[in-house]
């Protein structure tokens, strides 16, 4: 069913509609005898006259227009000042009336603008080529060719149907019938008035009637290093022919890509038909491939760089009186020559359609709303080729990919549906059970893991070292770990400190972390309770050294200048300075301590104490109590030829062994079993992960 386009807002409306569905403008012409209400409802509200001005008989359509003219006079006054005096205002009405009476004469002659006049004159007299603009002479040549090719083209047919007939008719040999299949025919039936349709850029999907997005076909990715892609790389679906509406993908499926063999030229190099240069090559090409150049469409933005025929180029050169500009060869090859053939013809008045709506409804020969330039035109059939080499083609491809990538919207990452952390719960449950069960071993009479019996070689050195330290001067114990690691390090360091307290070695603590002093007070308070060691007599806290390695170096050089107040001092010392304590009598610098024990979980801290104190520690042994993970990084300091670390104690197993061999009481059996079961659980978890991973990998291997 044909449709009418609303002149006011260009919306497509069914032919039968009187009023535009979008802006309710009047679609059906005003015919005399229509009741005033219809006229008013005719959508002319914008210029509806006031009640009093409406003439009594109401049905004279000229009176309405005059009322409109009065309403608009305010605007016209302004316009008038610029264009014509007031008296001349009714004059255009007169002309309208003449146009109304002689609708068939076509546009009033005196009104014709100059360019139009030339055009018409050119239409009558073909021979005077000099004055006729050159582009018009070609247009006229084109028209004669056309009329020969299509005798009897219906005069009165709708301009769109003629447009469609313009589509290439000869069927290129060797390629299946490219004529759109019947169901596509209806789509092209719809009079979709288009401006100069160069086709939207291939990546911007043309709005389809149903509004659903046309699925873009991704350009096949290839490395820049490859030779220019053969035409299959440019899928026809992807590049709509110029002038044709972009069809939903499924309809275009039957538009097959040309066969690869045909596109290879004699030497086997993949020729890109659209880009061969020169008329002669084109013939050779058509003979080889039998493919007509029109059917192969360029990427749209390349489309504008339409090839120019050598002969047209020659003409331009002659006409120019200026010295021809010397263009670079590659630019010369790409210089477009206007090959568009204006399809627009100004028909005689009889043929012109009656204006169906709007204030000029019922009139003929009304100028088109769109500028003439915007009228549909199609490229001429005899388009010449671009002189483009392979390298330029590859660069064009690269440029096109870059353009498309820029415009391509980064697809939003679909937020993973928050799945229940079942794996995390399962592993947590296994670990918690493994650690909790040993507390019930005694009640259940289950025997736990046996305590370690083997003694590692570097272990006995440490035992002898701590066992042989004299008690005349204090041992410095550095608490450089955070409360987070106290669970492990209190247990490991506890063995060493308990051994020292058992041997009544005086202990002085210091820390380069704010939380170190309270940890030291907590651990020594717990150990001292069993051996009667009291703060201020058996042990003393120097407190917090702020400043990291800088403070360590300052402390190593001159401890008394750095530590000013001390931490949690007993009442007897709280008035004076911590250095007044008898424990610290002979201590002036770091080497005056009998032993330095550094308890830390971090390898950086261990390295800092090993490096920064080395020049000032003298012969005092340095022992490191480490978390299990720090051992590999500190061991090089312990094994270097020039020893910087004299003893290492790492992890719970070593601590349990130390307790066994230093004769300390062993109250850690439950913790040892919990540790053992925890390790068992973790080992099984890792084995399960490994088995799962290897299994999947083998499955994939077999599938491939």
């Amino acid at each position: 069913m044909a449709e009418i386009r609303c002149p006011m807002c260009s919306t497509m409306n069914p032919e039968t509609a009187e009023v535009c569905s979008n802006c309710e403008a009047r679609l059906t012409p005003l015919v005399s005898g229509m009741p005033p209400a219809d006229q008013q409802a005719s959508g002319v509200e914008g210029i509806k006259p006031a009640e009093s001005d409406v003439p009594s008989d109401g049905d004279d359509w000229l009176a309405n227009i005059r009322a409109g003219a009065i309403m608009g006079s305010g605007a016209e006054d302004n316009a008038a000042e610029t264009d014509e005096p007031d008296e001349a205002a009714p004059d255009w009405l007169g002309r309208l009336r003449e146009a109304d009476s002689s609708i068939d004469e076509g546009p009033p002659t005196e009104e014709i603008p100059d360019w139009m006049e030339d055009f018409l004159a050119a239409g009558d007299d073909v021979t005077e080529e000099e004055e006729v603009p050159e582009w018009l002479s070609r247009v006229r040549a084109r028209r004669e060719v056309q009329t020969d090719a299509q005798p009897g083209a219906g005069e009165d047919e709708d301009w769109i149907t003629r447009l469609r007939d313009e589509a290439p008719t000869e069927q290129p040999t060797g390629v299946e019938d490219l004529r759109p299949s019947p169901d596509v025919e209806e789509l092209t039936e719809q009079p979709a008035p288009q401006a100069l349709d160069l086709g939207p850029p291939p990546d911007v999907p043309a709005p389809t009637p149903q509004g659903e997005m046309v699925q873009e076909k991704p350009i096949p990715s290839y490395d820049a290093g490859d030779i220019a892609p053969s035409p299959e790389g440019i899928d026809d679906d992807f590049q709509p022919a110029v002038g044709e509406p972009i069809l939903p993908e499924e309809e275009m499926e039957w538009f097959p890509a040309p066969d690869e063999r045909e596109l290879l030229d004699a030497e086997g190099l993949p020729h890109v038909p659209a880009l061969l240069d020169g008329e002669t090559e084109e013939k050779a090409f058509t003979e080889i491939t039998g493919l007509d150049m029109d059917s192969i469409e360029l990427p749209d933005w390349l489309g504008e760089l339409k090839p120019s025929t050598p002969q047209a180029v020659q003409e331009e050169d002659d006409a120019a009186d200026l010295a021809p500009a010397t263009l670079p060869s590659w630019l010369e090859a790409m210089r477009p020559v206007d090959t568009f053939r204006s399809e627009v013809e100004i028909e005689s008045v009889e043929v012109q359609p009656v204006e169906s709506a709007g204030p000029l409804a019922g009139l003929r020969g009304v100028l088109m709303a769109e500028p003439v330039v915007a009228m549909p035109r199609t490229a001429s059939t005899a388009a010449a080729r671009l002189d483009v080499t392979e390298r330029q083609y590859a660069q064009a491809e690269l440029l096109q990919r870059l353009v498309e990538e820029e415009e391509k919207e980064i697809p939003p990452v679909k937020a993973e549906r928050r799945r229940l952390p079942l794996m995390r719960w399962a592993i947590a449950l296994i670990l918690l059970l493994a650690v909790i069960l040993p507390f019930g071993f005694n009640q259940l009479g289950v025997e736990g893991y046996a305590l370690p019996s083997a003694v590692s070689p570097d272990f006995s050195d440490l035992l002898n070292l701590v066992g042989s330290i004299p008690a005349d001067r204090p041992a410095l114990v550095v608490f450089d770990y955070t409360p987070g690691y106290s669970g492990e390090l209190n247990t490991v360091a506890g063995a060493l400190l308990e051994h020292a307290v058992m041997r009544s070695l005086p202990i002085v603590t210091v820390s380069t972390r704010p939380t170190g002093p309270p940890l030291a007070e907590g651990l020594l308070n717990q150990i001292g309770a069993d051996y009667g060691a009291v703060n201020g007599e058996s042990y003393l806290h120097l407190g917090y050294l702020s400043g990291g390695p800088t403070a360590v170096q300052l402390f190593a050089i001159a401890p008394r200048n750095v530590v000013l107040s001390g931490y949690h001092l007993p009442e007897s010392l709280s008035e004076g300075s911590v250095w007044g304590s008898p424990l610290l009598q002979g201590v002036q610098q770091l080497s005056d301590f009998n032993l330095v024990i550094v308890i830390t979980a971090g390898t950086d801290t261990a390295r800092t104490w090993a490096e920064q104190t080395h020049p000032w520690i003298g012969d005092t042994p340095l022992v490191m109590v480490l978390s299990a993970g720090a051992e590999p990084l500190v061991r090089p300091y312990f094994e270097a030829s020039e020893k910087r670390v004299d003893g290492i104690l790492t992890g719970l197993p070593a601590a349990v062994s130390y307790r066994q061999y230093s004769g300390l009481p062993l109250d850690t059996s439950v913790q040892w079993d919990a540790f053992g079961l925890g390790m068992l659980a973790v080992e099984l978890i890792l084995i399960a992960g490994g088995a799962y991973g290897v299994g999947l990998w083998l499955l994939r291997l077999r599938e491939r």
Partner: protein
């Protein structure tokens, strides 16, 4: 009942807070957030009090109390009292967004000292000692048998020394950033570097595996110790001993 109720209350609160944090295993929840914010508040207050008591007060305030005003303006007073006060005042300008620009002098001092400690500590503490230790790995005692040393021990020591040097060199080569430009615009190592880098990657995986195992062992000990603590608290509450 424990002698001091404070210790008992301390233990009960610690047990509650432990359960609130371990509940994060199930998922982020209100209990976890309350315990976390309590912890951050206390840690911040504690750190502020320690910084004041151990550093700021002894340097900026104590001299005002202990020393006469005259000595503060002497040569020694200038460097231990006046200049520090000036730097601190400049630093406090950072509190106001408008004047913040002029507080950059002390920050520049901090950055200068930090950068120097990084460069000096790395050169003298790691680069030289570690390179020397790597070079000395293949010493004569290891390569040539000493009398009475069993062959297997000698072989094991020799292989260990070679593996030590090979591990260090291949890991260093793996971290090499420079590469050759490929035709397609990518970048790739040379053939030899590729072999050493792959070997280096395996040694890195072994090193990380050892450290990961160590950390895992440490955290299992902590997990066991936490439940030991909860078990002790329960027995004390139930047993009333």
């Amino acid at each position: 009942m424990p002698e001091l109720p404070l210790d008992f209350i301390e233990m009960i609160v610690a047990a509650f807070v432990t359960v609130m944090i371990l509940s994060y295993v199930i998922g982020d929840n209100v209990l976890f957030r309350i315990a976390t914010y309590l912890f951050i508040g206390i840690a911040s207050g504690f750190a502020g009090a320690i910084a004041w008591a151990n550093v700021v007060k002894p340097t900026l305030v104590q001299p005002l109390i202990d020393k006469e005003l005259v000595s503060l303006f002497s040569r020694e007073g200038a460097v231990t009292f006046l200049i520090p006060w000036m730097l601190v005042l400049f630093l406090l300008l950072k509190l106001s967004p408008r004047l913040s620009r002029f507080g950059s002098l002390p920050v520049a001092l901090l950055v200068g000292v930090g950068a120097a400690v990084v460069v000096g500590g790395s050169i003298t503490g790691t680069l030289i000692p570690q390179s020397r230790a790597a070079a000395e790995t293949l010493s004569q005692e290891i390569v040539f048998t000493t009398s009475g040393e069993p062959l297997s021990i000698w072989l094991e020591n020799l292989i260990s020394a070679l593996v030590l040097i090979l591990a260090t060199i291949s890991v260093l080569i793996y971290f090499r950033f420079s590469a050759q430009r490929e035709l397609t615009g990518g970048a790739r190592r040379s053939r030899i570097a590729e072999i050493f880098a792959y070997l280096g990657q395996i040694f890195i995986a072994v090193t990380f595996g050892v450290m990961y195992a160590g950390a895992l062992m440490a955290t299992i000990v902590v997990l066991a110790q936490r439940f030991q603590f909860l078990h002790d608290v329960l027995t004390q509450i139930v047993g009333g001993t």
